[in-house]
Amino acid sequence: MARAVSNRRKVGYTIAAWIIGLAIFFPILWTIVTSFKTEAEAISSPPSFMFFNWTTENYTTVLERSNYFRHFWNSVVISLGSTVLGLIIAIPAAWSMAFVPAKHTKNVLMWMLSTKMLPPVGVLIPIYLIFRDVGLLDTKTGLVIVLTLINLPIIVWMLYTYFKEIPGEILEASRMDGASLRDEIIYVLTPMAVPGIASTLLLNVILAWNEAFWTLNLTAAKAAPLTAFIASYSSPEGLFYAKLSAASTMAIAPILILGWFSQKQLVRGLTFGAVK
């Protein structure tokens, strides 16, 4: 009796959840579907969901006619570069705060977070002018620098929470075993923290890949990553839905896949450990 009721409920929940889930996912699904249509079918009325001539010509066109690969490569370099650079700066800092806490450690951490709260538009103008003057506008280097600084607080913070879970005695043991500080970090701490470092890397690549304030404002044709490349489709002459869809699908696919793997870390990273 009780089982039957709960099974009926379960069916209800399942139906409701799937309807809502599919509705939320629909714009992405629709983009993917449209990317396989011809331009004519893409704007045909009424629209067709399944029964059209599936084609991959949009992908070929986007890849051939535009600089898709260059922008894709820019996205890869900028997001990975800024994350790796951030990790190199953050690992020693997080080591310090997690294993040699001082009176001000907490304040330093909080202060680092507070820099993240600075609205980008508040510092856009000086950064833009400085970059213009030193020739960093529209360069990958410039964006790597900015995105490293923007994400550094999150990287430090995430690493700190992961390092905190490693018992300090193990690092002390390595010190007793004759390890120098460098050995301690390279042979003991880093390998032990690999899962945490990987999560941090993942989340920050995602954030950097999708960053769309600095990438739009500091790049033009040359260093533009996919965010800016896609934005160029908003001009009226770029209104080809199928090709837009193909380009969009390619731009979001890598991150969608990475993102699904990192749901847990996402919560921890984006709430700075306040929700676990």
Binding site: I170, S174, R175, M176, D177, G178, Y187, M192, V194
Partner: protein, 334 residues
């Protein structure tokens, strides 16, 4: 080889003085146990010797050479931690090899020492496992193996057995004692368990609130505790400490009699009382005796099986030459 001298060593955490000025000499080859209640500063003292904490004052010398400012790696000491502190991402072999790798020892020498240690510690079959796949006792052995391959000037142990179950603890206790006999290297061993201290030590250092209460061999501490704290801490069951009129009879503030130094009789004795709880262990029997006219409940230890039980009336007589006398400060009166 492994003579360690502490000269007026102090340690403060902020304003709190955890170790007041403390002098201690540990001779080469000695097995020294630091014992005391939890929070008394045993670990802190050990970590000062290890170099994991800075002293706030005083000097540490190892083999006569000043070591106060040396980092842990340069002191030539090995430590076994309470949590074992094995490297979870390395195999047992790599764990044991780590200190030798850090010292840049040739590979074949490393291998020889690993094999020797593994054989001595029964780890040969486990060398390629990760610490996570080992039992508590095996992990303990790996930690010891990691310590011995370095051939340190001294071993430091911080409550190494407290994470093991009782049966394993007794076995490991003996293994460590045997290891000491075999290596003849200085060992400093921290525990809050006086049984471990009594069974393992050449020399016991009893600590209370960072102060050394007494230093001596197990039997010295048992026979001549310098004060009521040591008297109560060493020996199990605890020594009976009696204040008031009864102590005054012996011209002392407090007298102490160990449970095993009180004779029991059904007909006559100094104190008459009633048995509360009787614990029959087979080899021994412990009685807790009330209503003797003393403020304290007395604990009595009788050998073997004794047919007295709860509610029985008994007569107790302390052995005259085994009565310890203490003054108002709790210090022993000679």
């Amino acid at each position: 080889m492994g003579r360690i001298t502490l000269d007026k060593v102090t340690k403060k955490f902020g304003d709190v003085e955890v170790i007041p000025p403390l002098d201690l000499t540990i001779d080469d080859g000695e097995f020294v146990v630091f014992v005391g209640p939890s929070g008394c500063g045993k670990s802190t003292l050990l970590r000062l010797i290890a170099g994991l904490e800075d002293v706030s004052g005083g000097e540490i010398r190892i083999d006569g050479k000043p070591a106060t400012d040396l980092p842990p790696a340069k002191r030539g000491l090995a430590m076994v931690f309470q949590s074992y502190a094995l490297y979870p991402h390395m195999s047992v072999r790599k764990n044991i090899a780590f200190p030798m790798k850090m010292a840049g020892m040739p590979e074949d020498e490393q291998k020889r020492r690993i094999d020797n240690a593994a054989r001595a510690l029964n780890l040969t079959d486990y060398l390629d496992r990760r610490p996570g796949q080992l039992s508590g006792g095996q992990r303990q052995r790996v930690a010891i193996g990691r310590a011995i391959v370095r051939e340190p000037a001294a071993f430091l142990f911080d409550e190494p057995l407290s994470n093991l179950d009782a049966a394993l603890r007794v076995g490991m206790r003996m293994e460590i004692s045997e290891l000491h006999k075999k290596l003849d290297t200085t060992m400093i061993y921290v525990t809050h368990d006086q049984v471990e201290a009594m069974t393992m030590a050449d020399k016991i250092v009893v600590l209370r609130a960072g102060n050394i209460e007494q230093v001596g061999s197990p039997l010295e501490l048992y026979r001549n505790p310098r004060n009521t704290f040591v008297a109560g801490f060493i020996g199990s069951p605890k020594m009976n400490l009696i204040d008031g009129a009864e102590a005054k009879k012996h011209s002392a503030e407090t007298i102490g009699v160990r449970p095993e130094h009180i004779d029991v009789s059904a007909s006559e004795g100094t104190w008459k009382g009633r048995i509360g709880v009787a614990e029959h262990l087979g080899s021994d029997t412990f009685f807790h005796v009330h209503d003797t006219g003393l403020a304290e409940t007395l604990t009595i230890r009788a050998s073997g099986e004794v047919a007295l039980r709860h509610g029985d009336t008994v007569f107790l007589t302390p052995q005259a030459d085994k009565i310890h006398r203490f003054d108002a400060q709790g210090l022993r009166i000679a």
